[in-house]
């Protein structure tokens, strides 16, 4: 029976590595962020200063927190009607048909495209289109980044929403139909109310993805270390400032970037936790 013991111990040890790994990530981030927090205290979070000039060094995360939150929320707003109608198409109007299967695969394909390809495509194909509309001079900025982000998170919101919408019991819908309700009325008075928390959770999880997206945003947002002044103004997100500046950072700046990483970690963990919590309630 020693094989049993060995197996059990082996399985337990692997589970332990997950524990160590998670603890290690948090400890390393805290350790790396400590000098920045020690130097600037709570001001690190509220200040939007980002001055790397030697002698007058000062770092604050606010511009990047603002950039991250604004682009992600804007992306979510753009994403909601797209993902909502697509999931209704897949799980309600054309449920079980070939068309629905094809649409589902196409949306899944969107999830398979690497982030850097989105960024590149956004730079060369989407940006000139936006410039042509006359809304923006160069096409860099919050809106362009959010638009690409929205396309990137649509598949995540869609697949989960569709799954939850398709789980709404047919009996409930039939009851409403038998009272003479139209399809739209059934959707709004039966399907959405009973799938509401699941749909909300799917959008929260999609938001979680948007918060941490790096490459596509870095290539489109304009990388200006300020709180964005408008929809078409440049800004910077937490993930993209790390991507841009980590390579040459050292000392206090390095610590400030790790601290931004830690804040990003906490924000995404919180958002994901919220989403999972709502899903668990629903299930």
């Amino acid at each position: 029976m020693s094989g049993d013991r060995v197996t059990k111990v082996l399985l337990f040890i692997s589970s332990l590595t997950i524990l160590l790994l998670s603890a290690g990530i948090v400890i390393s981030l805290f350790g790396g962020a400590l000098p920045a927090f020690r130097e600037f205290g709570f001001r690190f979070i509220t200040s939007s200063a980002w001055n790397p000039t030697a002698g007058s060094e000062e770092y604050g995360a606010m511009s990047f927190i603002a950039g991250t939150v604004i682009t992600s929320i804007l992306a979510l707003i753009i994403c909601i009607p797209m993902a909502f109608s697509t999931s209704l198409f897949i799980a309600e109007y054309y449920k079980g048909t070939r068309t629905s299967g094809i649409l589902r695969s196409l949306v899944d394909l969107l999830a398979g495209i690497p982030s850097i390809v989105y960024g590149f495509w956004g730079f060369y194909a989407l940006r000139p289109l936006l410039v042509a509309t006359g809304l923006t001079d160069q096409g860099f900025g919050v809106f362009t980044a959010s638009l690409v982000l929205a396309i990137m998170i649509v598949p995540y919101a869609t697949s989960l929403s569709a799954e939850i919408i398709s789980m709404v019991p047919a009996e409930l819908k039939e009851a409403a139909y038998s009272l003479g309700a139209t399809r739209r009325e059934v959707i709004f008075s039966v399907v959405i109310p009973s799938a509401r928390s699941g749909i909300i959770a799917s959008f929260i999880l999609a938001l979680g993805r948007a918060l941490g997206e790096t490459m596509a945003v870095t290539m489109l947002i304009g990388n200006a270390n300020v709180i964005p002044k408008g929809l078409f103004a440049p800004g910077n997100t937490m993930a993209s400032v790390i991507a841009n500046q980590f390579g040459e950072a050292s000392g206090l700046k390095m610590s400030a970037l790790i601290a931004i990483g830690l804040l990003l970690f906490m924000i995404t963990a919180l958002v994901n936790y919220l989403g999972k919590l709502i899903i668990k309630r629903f299930a």
Binding site: L20, W50, T53, G55, D137, F140, G222, N223, E248
Partner: protein, 346 residues
Amino acid sequence: MAAMALLLVSCGGGGSTTGKQKQITLSAAGATFPQPFYNLAFKKYNEAGGPLINYGGIGSGGGIKSLRDQIVDFAATDAYLSDAELAEMPGEVVHIPTCIGAVVIAYNLPGVTDLQLTPELLEGIFLGNIKKWNDPKILAANPGLAVPDMEITVVYRSDGSGTTYIFSDYMSKVSPAWKAQLGTGKALNWPAGIGAKGNPGVSGTISQSQGSIGYIGYEYAFAQKIPMAKVMNSAGLFIEPTLESFTAAAAAEMPADTRVMLTNSPNPAAYPITSFTWIIMYKELAYGKHSSEAAEAAVKTVKWLTGEEAQAIATSVHYAALPQNASLQAAELLRGITYQGLTVLR
């Protein structure tokens, strides 16, 4: 964490034995400004039997950091290390100048190819005080030029950069307002515009965006046929960026450690935003797991880089060759580099 690290090392060790090659491989990282020169020169050197050199163009700031962390054999920077930065290094560092480059003001304006800029205009544009291309101040310096009614978009470096250092060093010398607001540095707190990564990123953004202006290494503007502005130098003359006008800036006296900025040269023929670019390495190369073979290969590579053959390559990619006093100084410094106390070049 330690257990995982151990696990990783053992798993990594298994793979590395098969990948070891007889050829010496050096790793170097730093400035993107001289990268076209280094890439080409290192490649030629490798073809002639020299070591294979992995040069990562991660910016001067990244190069300095990599050298401090002792993760490269040598690094490249366009900004010499300050006394404070030298003191932070774990060992004594030598600066070897490799060529002279210039930072040019590149722009993308439909129909305009002969823009002239004064230090005052540069200050106004890059500080965000001049917002339109048809601003009367720009028209005053460019009589007869058909400047369109367009917003100015400033493009700057989003990463720590020697190019930024050279440009801001010059601007701080000629503009008190700049000196007070932004100062000199590898990364600045820009009041206007958008950031792009590396010299290629900035030149790419400029060439893709009408109405934009930015500062880049000469080679990048030249290669991409982006128009460059003539800049007014200390003698009040508008100077076109050319190899001759760069070399003219190098007449300055050379300190023993070669740490000197050539910007705003008093020579009336000189282009004002000109600088040496340096390779930096430790004076004592026996540190960490650094082997004597790697140390020797590194010193020989840098020596070759300052020699005649490589300097000819430099001019072929539009950097000005080292003046005589600088190359003598470089040779002298290289002779002082040791491995376990013994001179590497014998």
